[in-house]
């Protein structure tokens, strides 16, 4: 199983959690990004995500490898959902395991920031009034060779 995945099915939270198990781990940190019912004061009905899966998996995997060089992690995993999501569903899942909590917290937060900046996934919001908009987003940080 790849350490970073893109899926069009609901993220299997329990299965991902089990993959963090490690006898040397003293701290597991999990971030679940879930669909909320509002954005900048407007009511959100649902979200639709698109992703360029092959590149998203590659970039996501590179982020996890980079995290493991920065912190002594026992596990670093991630999954991003694409397709149609209702309020309350998990859009993204990041999990880290380390001997001590400080590394696990720091790495999980860093991985999530990198995923938002670099993984080619796009969020479209459908608001309660029926309007449909792509999120503004951030210009993707490239790793193209100079």
């Amino acid at each position: 199983m790849e350490d970073f995945q893109v899926t069009d099915r609901p993220i299997d939270l329990a299965a991902w959690r089990r993959r963090l198990d490690h006898p040397q781990a003293g701290g597991l940190v999990i971030f679940e990004g879930v669909v909320r019912d509002h954005h900048q004061g407007r009511a959100v009905r649902h979200l639709d995500y698109q992703g360029y899966a092959p590149l998203a998996v590659r970039v996501g995997s590179e982020i996890l490898v980079a995290a493991r060089t920065r912190w002594p992690l026992l596990a670093a995993l991630g999954c991003h959902r694409v397709g149609h999501l209702e309020v309350g569903e998990a859009a993204v899942w990041i999990g880290t395991a380390a001997a001590h909590r400080a590394e696990a917290f720091a790495a999980c937060a860093w991985i999530m920031d990198e995923v938002k900046a670099r993984v080619p996934v796009w969020k479209q919001e459908t608001f309660a009034d029926g309007t449909v908009e792509w999120s503004q987003g951030t210009i993707m940080r490239s790793a193209a060779p100079e």
């Binding site: 698109q50 360029y52 080619p120 796009w122 792509w134 210009i139 490239s142 790793a143």
Partner: protein, 80 residues
């Protein structure tokens, strides 16, 4: 002329009205290909907001294109 596959995502997919297409183009680089698509289809996203991928790897705008390449112009991302 080289035959290329172009994949579209997000705003660009909406503007083009297609997920993907095969085209023949005289464009020798990703930059010239994007300018051609802007002319043909009225794509509005500025080049400076996009990242280019060829064959599933990020490349520079002046990277050369070859017959059979798959080219993707990646709009600003909004995962999470």
């Amino acid at each position: 002329m080289p035959e290329l596959t172009v994949l579209y995502f997000a705003h660009l997919r909406d503007q083009r009205g297609l997920d993907s297409e095969r085209i023949t183009s005289t464009a020798t680089t990703a930059r010239y290909l994007y300018r051609e698509l802007v002319q043909r289809h009225g794509l509005t996203l500025p080049e400076r907001t996009l990242i280019v991928a060829v064959n599933e790897a990020m490349v520079r705008w002046d990277a050369p294109l070859a017959d059979g390449d798959t080219v993707v112009f990646l709009p600003p991302v909004s995962g999470g």
